[in-house]
């Protein structure tokens, strides 16, 4: 029953307005159960829009978008979204933020409280249950953002540059945390990033996107052995992947 399959079939998205913006053009993407897929591209390439469509925050203009075989029409707890700036409720403490999902869904209290306690331990914040988001560092806030999503047992995790605003060291420890969590839960993950290292380290497959209109220009399977850790970042295989992707993305020292 732990599905979490994603299927974009010829999905396009146009933002209407004074000047129409073609954000996504004919996206075809299938993600299987338990797969970790990274969307990699420069800012403005529509990768966040793609995630927002799947989350149900925005509607597709053309094409079909299926989650576990059903058309996506609205947001729901089966697709847990981790936002770039965590988007925690600033008036609720860590504990209240984590139980918010199951609580508003009317889940049995004893059950979700036990789960929330375990999740806080998992992300290393059991002693910060009473703290307000504003009292936490950026990395800690994002740990809460992950815990509150996992509290709902989603079938897929949609992560929108979740570590993009963290410093390099915190980012590494968050990547390790995510690897550990994913390797034990096996949930489907769609992960948006502009960081090549991050995409290679975490994912089974990288979809490289280009901008205006947003398109998937290349799909690269990453077959680095699992379980991975941040130690994988320095292996020869890793560096080979990186070189290939950089040439794919035409990253060079020459001015653009």
């Amino acid at each position: 029953m732990t599905m979490g399959t994603i299927a974009f079939e010829n999905v396009s998205k146009t933002f209407s307005g004074q000047t129409e913006v073609r954000a996504l053009e004919a996206i075809n993407l299938a993600v299987g159960e338990g797969e970790f897929v990274a969307l990699l591209g420069p800012s403005g390439c529509g990768k966040s829009t793609l995630l927002n469509l799947l989350a149900g925050f925005e509607n597709t203009t053309e094409g079909t978008l299926l989650f576990d075989g059903k058309t996506v029409t609205r947001p729901g707890p089966d697709r847990g979204v981790v936002f770039q700036e965590a988007a925690l409720f600033p008036w609720l403490n860590v504990w209240q933020n984590v139980i918010f999902g199951p609580q508003v869904q009317g889940a049995p209290r004893a059950e979700y409280e036990k789960k929330a306690r375990n999740l806080l331990k998992l992300v290393g914040l059991e002693s910060f249950a009473e703290a307000l988001p504003v009292q936490l560092s950026g990395g800690m806030r994002q740990r809460v953002g992950i815990a509150r999503v996992l509290a709902m047992s989603p079938r897929a995790l949609l992560m929108d540059e979740p570590f993009g605003s963290l410093d390099a060291q915190t980012r590494l420890s968050m990547q390790q945390l995510l690897l550990d969590v994913w390797q034990s839960l096996g949930t489907t993950v769609l992960f948006v990033t502009h960081d090549i290292d991050e995409a290679i380290l975490l994912s089974d497959r990288i979809c490289v996107m280009s901008a205006r209109p947003g398109k998937i220009i290349r799909t690269i399977p990453i077959t680095l052995p699992r379980p991975r850790s941040i130690a994988s970042l320095t292996t020869a295989e890793f560096v080979a992947y990186k070189a290939r992707i950089m040439s794919d993305m035409k990253v060079s020292a020459a001015p653009v």
Binding site: F100, V104, V134
Partner: protein, 294 residues
């Protein structure tokens, strides 16, 4: 501030100064200095006023000196010993309570209507389209212009005053609440939707708390208007309260009572504003931390 700030202050000296100054903590001293600083200007005005009025010629003798006002206030508050024909004697508290009760009722009514309406206007496009134009159309009509209407409809009774107060306080609360609901961070709403919250849950558990800072701004402005409205209403539409005494005392030439009355209104306004501020600090503790750290 400490006395022994010299770089070569010897140990015994510093511990001695510590002893003498230990009655109050450093924070206590800062507070005391704040209070002293705050009373300088009012004290100066009162002294000057007393000094100018001692000749008995201040504005042709119309304006009583502070000591006369104080005397009148004492009689008004506690009554005078022996027989007196002073109609205000000992009625201060009763009139104060009349006014405060009207403000309380009107202000509460305003909150109960304005907060839900404001949230609806800020949160829902249909509600906004249906309600906002009417609110904006009625808002420019000053509460003083509503006086004849109020008297005609409610007569010379409490209800008229409460109506004016509620109306006056309604506008700033509704406008600020709507603004707060409109300005809500998009991702907070998305996060709530993603976690399975329905429209009502989002309104109650996300939009309302996110709007509270603006709501409190509206409450403080609204309370100020409520005090204005109660005085205006009592001067014309009711026969009791601080506004009634104010106008009545003016008519019989009791400027000492008039000034004591004004001071009472000012004091009440200040105290009620502080009460709201205290509640705000308690309710919005999360916000205070936020502004301290950023």
């Amino acid at each position: 501030m400490s006395i022994s700030t010299g770089p070569i202050a010897s140990k015994p000296a510093s511990s001695a100064s510590h002893l003498t100054w230990s009655i109050l903590s450093p924070a206590g001293w800062r507070n005391l200095r704040q209070i002293l600083l705050a009373v300088v200007l009012p004290a100066l005005v009162i002294v000057l006023w007393q000094w100018a009025g001692n000749g008995g010629s201040l504005f042709g003798g119309v304006l009583p000196t502070p000591d006369k006002v104080w005397q009148a206030w004492k009689v008004w508050a506690f009554g005078s010993s022996g027989l007196s024909l002073n109609p205000y004697s000992g009625t201060w508290l009763a009139n104060l309570l009349f006014s405060a009760e009207r403000v309380g009722k009107g202000f509460l009514a305003a909150i109960l209507v304005a907060v839900p309406v404001g949230l609806a206007i800020g949160w829902n496009r249909i509600a906004s389209g249906a309600l906002d134009p009417t609110v904006q159309l009625l808002r420019p009509i000053p509460i003083t212009a509503w006086l004849p209407f109020s008297i005609a409809v409610f007569g010379i009774r409490d209800m008229g005053a409460v109506f004016l107060i509620a109306l006056g306080a309604f506008y700033p609360i509704v406008v600020n609440t709507a603004q707060g609901a409109r300005d809500i961070e998009r991702n907070l709403v998305r996060a709530a939707m993603m976690m399975g919250a329905g429209r009502w849950t989002i309104l109650r558990r996300v939009v309302l708390p996110a709007s509270l800072p603006s709501i409190f701004t509206g409450l403080r402005i609204g309370l100020g208007i409520a005090w204005t409205a109660v005085i205006v209403a009592e001067m014309v539409a009711v026969k009791s309260g601080l506004g009634y005494v104010l106008w009545d005392a003016y008519y019989v030439g009791r400027m000492d009572v008039v000034i004591a009355d004004m001071a009472t209104i000012g004091l009440l306004g200040l105290i009620s504003d502080r009460v709201i501020l205290l509640i705000e600090r308690w309710v919005l503790a999360w916000r205070r931390l936020q502004s301290f750290q950023s």
